[in-house]
Amino acid sequence: MTPLLQVSDIAKSYGARIGCTDVSFDLYPGEVMGSVGESGSGKSTLLSCLAGHLPPDRGKVRFDTRTNGLRDTVKMSEPERRMLSRTDWAFVHQHARDGLRMNVSAGGNVGERLMAVGARHYGDIRDAATDWLGRVEISADRVDDRPTAFSGGMQQRLQIARNLVTGPRLVFMDEPTGGLDVSVQARLLDLLRGLVREMNLSAIIVTHDLAVVRLLADRLMVMKDGHVVETGLTDQVLDDPQHRYTQLLVSSVLQV
């Protein structure tokens, strides 16, 4: 099987300071990779480099495109990369307002993505938008409301609907459950797990919450000071951590 994403030797510095360095991994279809580490460990920098939001200083990010096989997205032209980010990728921001258009209706937020990949029939777009709102448990009578009228958890679910409506193959998530209260988190986690399974999605999830990666990620990458210090199966890394920093991280979690 061809990996969906092949990351080799990615590095990004901010002046003399290391953002992230020497990051390499393969991600296969249907796999969810978690990335954990404290603030400043480089996990968000890495995500930005992978998603094409930030040009890395060196390294390759090869994505298995539908038509031309593995292509290095770092070297791609901007329009090509933008097309990929509309058709094949999705990016779920920590703050839903970064990923939504706040003064467009919920239905419009979802429909806009469809129009960006060529959908033109109003009825079809609206039906697809309503269907997706239902899948993320937003009732149909809220389709014309603006996200500003939604709670934080609803905004986050709307952002997920907007991102997944075009049937992407790879989803980047930056702290998708951060800032939500725990009851909403649980529902969102269940939703994401179901969608990953049904759509055979691959995902890269950046979070500092070990409980979230345990439930969501198949594999885990632990970052510290811009370096990947440990990788492996999520439960193995959490239950039998090998690196000093991972051991510290795992043993520092407060028990409820």
């Binding site: 296969y28 269940d190 399974r197 594999r219 990788t231 199966l233 239950d239 039998d240 000093r244 051991q247």
Partner: protein
């Protein structure tokens, strides 16, 4: 089906003076299809550690652990994930699930992961929960709110939902009443009859004698102080 060959394990505690604690060496065992092997030994002897290594949850320091033709010690995470989906089941002592997911969905999940149609999976989950005497009014509730025994039965239902060729059981009858203990032991016997290779930890002697063909004392794998 399951072949553990000369496996060793030590824990290094980096944040406690980098103490290295050897916990196992020379561990070897073979389990044929249709056979149930019990791990025995005092508490702390390494029964669960060995079982977790077979599942790929703990890293072995050396040796080979073959499940079919996959060596868990060397395999890529992706290969182990595939193995866990299709070949190797594990009933742990404790249930770990997403909060607010119904018991029915928790039990059906292993089937859905292997591509079973939704209705078939739910039907099988219902049958298992019925057999394990989980009242129907609880099916739509999250098992995180259940009693210890109920949680364990949901965990067992989940572990037996898919017919894995190899199965690890960590004290499956520990907190069950007589009726449910009987049901679980029947399920273990049925799995054996299907040809499942089983490694189990049973503190319940009678249960162990009933379902297990052999015992392996893990104390034999404890590193000697001099070694």
């Amino acid at each position: 089906m399951i072949s553990v060959q000369n496996v060793s394990k030590s824990f290094t505690l980096h944040n406690q003076g980098a103490a290295t604690i050897p916990v196992m060496q020379g561990a070897s065992l073979q389990v044929a299809p249709g056979e149930c092997v019990a791990l025995v030994g005092a508490s702390g002897a390494g029964k669960s550690t060995l079982m977790r290594m077979i599942y790929g949850n703990y890293l072995a320091a050396s040796g080979r652990i073959l499940i079919g033709d996959v060596d868990v010690v060397q395999a890529e995470p992706r290969t182990i994930l595939d193995l866990r989906r299709n070949v190797l089941g594990y009933v742990s002592q404790f249930l770990r699930v997403v909060p607010r997911v119904s018991a029915l969905d928790v039990v059906a999940e292993p089937l859905l992961l292997t591509g079973t149609p939704h209705d078939t999976a739910l039907g099988r989950a219902e049958a298992l929960l019925t057999r394990l005497n989980i009242p129907e009014r609880l099916w739509q509730l999250s098992p995180t709110t259940f009693s210890g025994g109920e949680q364990q039965r949901v965990n067992i239902a989940r572990g037996f939902a898919y017919d894995y060729p190899a199965l690890l059981l960590d004290e499956p009858t520990a907190s069950l009443d007589v009726t449910n203990r009987g049901v679980v032991l029947d399920m273990v016997m049925a799995a054996k009859a299907r040809g499942t290779a089983i490694v189990g930890i049973f503190h319940d002697d009678a249960a162990r004698d009933q379902v297990c063909d052999r015992e392996i004392d893990v104390a034999a794998f404890t590193p000697r102080a001099a070694a």
